[in-house]
């Protein structure tokens, strides 16, 4: 079997993998290999999410780099990559319909403020001023004016495109079977098809499948899976540029630059989905449930036509924040997984930090709290 070597191997051609490849190339690393199991780059969650670029509601362990991305990376990303990633920084409104909702939002906002994020709760009147299209049932909302959204599909492929131009070697249909050690260090990446790649550093950014890969060298991370669906409408007249969410998690989404509305929602029956990870079948119930939820907040969309629905697997981490960490026990291994459904908005920062980690540099913000070995028994 052929053997190929590289300075850094990235397993997973999603937005984090592509961004990491780009930042490594930008830092002058000549020999970067990205291995994508699917035929298409960005086949997983990277192309299936709602496009939120959000700081509000983040755990304190990830807020610093979420803010770093918003402050230092997203505003110039289109220019940097030479592709319009459709970034809008017009704020995030998390809507509430009950006093209990508002209380929840109040707590969320208070915690975020403590961490230095501009976020507060606004009343129904202010909600209407921010977004006049919302239902009167919305009695208040949390408001984070620096949040926004972007096009996840284009962002992923823009990173990919630039990385390709800069010489990163991408391989698709390159499903990794196992990792292999060499003299106590992670070195080998063995594909199902038999090819072997070797590198000093291997970054695993392969969603839930990261777990299977890490296990082949004796590392396990507490991830689970969750299937989430989204829908998109036909093109609509421009209504608003903000990102929407709900205190109750009824739905989330935004109007894209193109004019279509992209919303994520659920039926409430997702926990029990029994479907292999290779399947991406939507449920017969979710789209209707989603429409009911959306219309109860934005009644004006009742006549907007749904053109498409899709679903994707989320790699849920035990404590709701990802593992972004060097693995001390297995030198050469860097894990980046468990993004728990909100990894898109942080991808520029995560990509940059993974590149820094691969080069032994200090990361732009401290992420030691996202270590792979942070999980402890509760009693």
């Amino acid at each position: 079997m052929s053997k190929m070597t590289a300075d850094v191997i990235i397993i997973g051609g999603g937005v984090n993998g592509c961004a990491t490849a780009y930042y490594l190339a930008k830092k002058g690393v000549k020999d970067v290999v990205v291995l994508e199991a699917d035929k298409s780059i960005g086949h997983g969650g990277s192309s299936r999410n709602g496009g939120g670029v959000r700081q509000s509601g983040r755990d304190m362990r990830e807020l610093p780099y979420a803010m770093y991305a918003v402050n230092h990376m997203w505003p110039t990303l289109s220019e940097e990559l030479g592709v319009d990633v459709e970034y809008y920084q017009k704020g995030n409104l998390r809507m509430g319909k009950t006093e209990a909702h508002l209380k929840k939002l109040e707590n969320l906002a208070a915690r975020s403020r403590e961490l230095g994020l501009d976020m507060n709760v606004v009343d129904a009147k202010t909600v209407k001023e921010i977004c006049p299209y919302l239902s009167d049932e919305v009695i208040g909302a949390s408001w984070c004016p620096t949040d926004g959204h972007a096009n996840p599909m284009v962002t992923t492929l823009a990173y990919y495109k630039r990385a390709v131009e800069m010489g990163v070697r991408f391989f698709t249909e390159a499903k990794v079977a196992s990792l292999g050690l060499y003299k106590g260090k992670l070195r080998r990446v063995i594909l199902e098809s038999g090819e072997v790649f070797e590198a000093e550093t291997v970054i695993i950014a392969a969603g839930y499948e990261s777990r299977y890969l890490a296990r082949t060298v004796g590392i396990d991370v507490p991830l689970s899976t969750y299937f989430e669906e989204a829908l998109v409408t036909e093109m609509q007249p421009h209504m608003f540029d903000i990102m929407l969410g709900c205190a109750d998690g009824d739905f989330y989404g935004h109007q894209s630059k193109h004019g279509s509305f992209v919303f994520g929602s659920d039926s409430g029956l997702e926990e029990e989905i029994d479907m292999p990870l290779t399947e991406l079948k939507t449920s017969s119930l979710t789209v209707s449930a989603g429409c009911r939820a959306i219309m109860s907040y934005i009644p004006l969309l009742a006549d907007a036509k749904i053109v498409r629905t899709w679903g994707g697997w989320i790699d849920m981490c035990h404590d709701g924040v990802p593992v972004i960490s060097r693995v001390d026990e297995v030198p050469g291994m860097i894990l980046a997984c468990g993004f728990t459904g909100h990894g898109f908005g942080t991808a520029p920062a995560v990509g940059l930090m993974l590149a820094q980690m691969a080069l032994g540099e200090e990361t732009v913000v401290d992420i030691s709290a996202l270590s792979y070995d942070r999980f402890k028994p509760v009693r």
């Binding site: 399947e279 079948k281 939507t282 449920s283 017969s284 209707s288």
Partner: protein, 523 residues
Amino acid sequence: MERYDLIVIGAGPAGLSAAIEAAKNGLKPIVFDENARPGGQLFKQIHKFFGSKEHKAKIRGFKIGDDLLAEASENGVQVVLNATVMGLYPEKEVTVKIGEEIHHYKGDSILTATGASENMVPFRGWTTPGVIGAGAAQTMMNLHHIKPGNKVLMLGSGNVGLVVSYQLLQAGCEVVAVVDAAPRIGGYGVHAAKIARCGVPFYLSNTIVEVTGDEAVDGVTIAEVDRNFQFIPGTEKHFEVDTVCVAVGLSPMAQLLKQAGCKMKDTPGGFIPECDEYGATSVPGIFAAGDVAGIEEASSAMIEGRIAGAAIANYLGYLDADGLKEKENSLEDALGSLRQGMFAPKNRGKLVTKTEEGIDTSMNLLEKGFVADDEIERYPGVTHTVGIHPVMECTQNIPCNPCQDACAKGCISIGANITSLPVVKNDVKCIGCGMCVASCSGQAIFLVDEDTGDGYGTVTLPYEFLPLPETGEKGIALGRDGKKVCEAEVVSVRSAKAFDHTNLLTIRVPSDMTMKARFYKRA
């Protein structure tokens, strides 16, 4: 959730046939169709079908549709119209939009018979209003009685392009040209001949360079292409038209099957599910029949539907293996015979240079749309004898034989092989009844009397245009190429119920023109 033995998606020829067959075996099928009326494309088909009796040959498509609906109703098949299936989900669940609501149904089995959609080809101006699919033109004319335009150019010389061109002529449009990038006509020669003799020119190895017009089509430029389908500069021709019809093939609408996770394959007939001989897909209980499982004719879709219906009955325990085998045997023969001849799937894209009888193919027919005067004599249906006799200008082996039953006297013989060219037996006396002329779906049979005295003879030809000429009127006889051959006088116009709207026009022409005059044009 409401549950049915069989949910059929699509009330076209395949879907209805399957539902009927299933119902006959005791299943309770329900059929959903997104259209306001059932029958799929059948009700747009105003021409007579090919095949044999069991394929409902010489019956017009819409009549076959009526018969199918009647049979469905007799067998208790429930057809729900304006019912759009939105998705095909696990556990064989479908979501259906009916009225202003979505309904969920489950089937113990599902038959997808969603048909096909028209292909498009991009050229400069292809999105200009007035560029339409041939199927759309057919819908406008035959369902809504609206003329698609006045001057039309047809792109595509397959059966759809040819049949629709003829219908455009019937509707009173001028068809300025039939254009095809391929070097040879793709559809049946008899369909091409029908329009060639009306004067429609064919431009093979040509395609559209550009459609002009800002708000609506006002013209179209075509040019010759080389073997690699690249334009040859300097060969451009411009036509002033208001409509460009595109008939460049169909694509199966297999999205539901794909959504359901059926294994798919890419074939020359389109992206289709992998099916066994019964139409069963890779997902147990999900079947496919008709164009969605590979583009063919409505006749084969009906047989495929029957086979799938029987197979579903067997799958659900309503029909035993022997019963299925019996059904299959009878239907397989019928299906097999339809897939014979020059246009059989195996011959797709091939040049067949000789007929099954060993006669040279008419190259004029393939390249210009008509059999040349010096080629026609080589075919067994073309003979000379004293008195009236049929001249059968049937020159390609296609599965069709109604003519041999049409002649009560037994003048015409095709034999056991349905694709054989018809042979005229001159030892049997033709009485000139014209049944054979009206029976020929390809309008390729003429009654000729080469000498009625005074140096004149008569030609009786099939005529499906309105208004009908009147006896005694004088006009022009056109040759197979659509060019004037001589003056002609209408000596009789016959319409009979048995002719099923094919009128028999007898014209009087000079004797030496009786083997040349094949159409009549009013002066």
